[in-house]
Amino acid sequence: MTIIFDGLAAGMLLFLISVGLSVTLGLMNFVNLAHGAFAMLGGYVCALLLARAGVPFLLAAPAGAIVAALAGVVLERTLYRRLYGASHLDQVLFSIGINFMAISAAHYFFGAQQQAIVLPDFLRGQIKLPGLDVGVYRLFLIVIGLTLALGLQWLVGSTRFGAQLRAAVDNPRAARGLGINVERIFTLTFALGSGLAGLGGALGIEMLGLDPSFPLKYIVSFLIVVAVGGSGNIKGSLIASLMLGLFDVAGKYYLPQAGAFVIYVVMVVMLIARPQGLFGRSAAK
């Protein structure tokens, strides 16, 4: 039982750190490999507010998200915007370049060491139920993850903004003709994606650590989730994250010799079974 719970929590963490990428890659069709850089920014903001300014964690983490979102707006307005029409490979080159710069900048300002964070007491420890030990922080992650997933699903699927966004992505010219301010929609969406990244970075420090190499260290994890889930699909990302988390944790518990193989094998098998991802929209890019 505890293993299932831990697996779900691990999966939820994966979801939190990669859902932002699902938004930019899937909804905006932009290969933003600098996703981790925004996550790192959110993480540093959160860690510094906690450690230096004594801001409570529940405020510091959203602050990280907001700063990352603002940085997203600035970069989108100045740089990213020029590359919407570019090939995916150019976008890769560009966003990796951003990553390199972010890594060096973080190294310069914060040093190469791991950042310390101390969670508030009410998020620590375990609750003991019969047959199940519930880590409080893990439970917290699961709740946040589910809330976010529902919120995003609603935002994209059921609001006016969501409809405009989908229209803007599928056919920007027609959307413009209908009087939709495509530029503004894209800026907002990009900010949403970076903000989610920042939040993921802030919530992830406790389990993933935070140092300047963060953007490249976890890039593979982000990509796995998005690929398996089917890009641009919030539900897909969520289910993919949970499945990957469950398989990974269960694999490590019951079959520790297999080690890191489990997650890659699961990914490859899932991708071969469903090349477009679990809930991917068909071949259209």
């Binding site: 080159l93 990796i96 370049g97 710069m101 060096s104 490859v268 071969i272 090349p275 477009q276 991802g277």
Partner: protein
């Protein structure tokens, strides 16, 4: 019913060597005399260029994106390493075995890779490479794991030239292999086979209609690319006499893609020039500022994308065109 042979003259014209190319290939000779103290860097550039060329064959010409090309590089590197460690230190034999091992794995995995969209391909190639990395990491007794494989004893190249500290032999050997394989790649891409690959890249659905077996062609070129990468890996092992686990790592695949895109994919010289630009920039920046050079490298990449789409080669072509008109 008489069938006429297809007219191959446009291909022949494209295949003819042009003057700038000849000048380009004089560069390695000039570099030997101009930078006699940098031969180890230059040989590693040649090896990486060959590796980039192998990715260009599959990405630039056939449109198969890969984030796991280091798998084949690493297979070649370990194959050559084991061979030399257990007494078969002949360099050319090592290259052949490296190519063969990589090609076999490339052929087998090509069936996984051909399915799905770009993102799926990226992740499947990456998954395959990561599994190989983990396997090599786990088999510490054989591979040395993260500490690296040692005891790679190389014989002399064609029984004449031993590897030396200054890297002279390594340099000529790497350049020679690169040149031969480049010529071969040049022939391949300018053949009807190469043409059909470009057709597949541009429009997958139309190709079966003109009788080109899409999957067969893709499998073939993927296998060829794998073999090239295997040779590059074997070369690295032989010239450094050491195999580190890093040869299979994700950053190696990702960096390779950067170099290729930087140079301009879909052009053979793009692979070579991208590698040169990237490695020279990396080298000088990291010497100037060992701690924060990544920032400047990142800035270079961002600027290239903003101002020189299609990479350095694309920019050069545009400038030539602008100059002519």
């Amino acid at each position: 019913m008489s069938t006429t042979a297809p007219d191959l003259s446009p291909l022949r014209r494209a295949a003819a060597w042009k003057t700038p190319e000849l000048i380009f290939w004089l560069l390695p000779i000039a570099a030997y005399f101009l930078f006699p103290k940098s031969l180890s860097l230059l040989s590693q550039m040649a090896i990486t260029a060959l590796f980039a060329l192998s990715l260009d064959l599959i990405l630039g010409y056939a449109g198969i994106v890969s984030l796991g090309h280091a798998a084949f590089f690493g297979l070649g590197a370990y194959a050559a390493g084991f061979l030399a460690k257990y007494g078969y230190g002949d360099p050319l034999l090592g290259l052949a075995v490296g190519a063969l091992v990589a090609a076999i794995v490339g052929y087998i995995t090509s069936f996984l890779v051909l399915r799905g969209s770009d993102l799926t391909r990226l992740m499947v190639t990456l998954g395959v490479a990561m599994m190989l990395y983990e396997a090599a990491n786990k088999l510490t007794e054989f591979t040395g794991g993260v500490d690296g494989l040692q005891g790679v004893e190389m014989h002399q190249v064609i029984g004449l030239f031993g590897f030396d500290l200054y890297g002279k032999t390594a340099y000529w050997y790497s350049i020679g292999v690169l040149f031969v394989l480049f010529c071969l790649a040049r022939r391949v891409v300018n053949s009807p086979f190469g043409l059909s690959l470009r057709g597949i890249k541009q429009n997958v659905r139309r190709m079966p209609a003109i009788g080109a077996p899409v999957n067969g062609r893709l499998t073939a070129v993927y296998t060829l690319g794998a073999a090239y990468a295997g040779i590059a890996g074997a070369l690295l092992t032989q010239t450094t006499q050491f195999v580190s686990l890093d040869v299979l790592s994700f950053p190696r695949s990702a960096e390779l893609m950067l170099m290729l895109v930087l140079g301009g994919s879909g052009r053979l010289y793009g692979a070579l020039i991208g590698t040169m630009v990237f490695m020279v920039a990396h080298h000088y920046l990291s010497d100037l500022n060992p701690q924060y050079w990544q920032f400047w490298l990142g800035a270079v990449l961002v600027l290239v994308v903003l101002f020189a789409r299609d990479g350095v080669m694309g920019l050069a072509q545009k400038m030539i065109k602008a100059g002519k008109s």
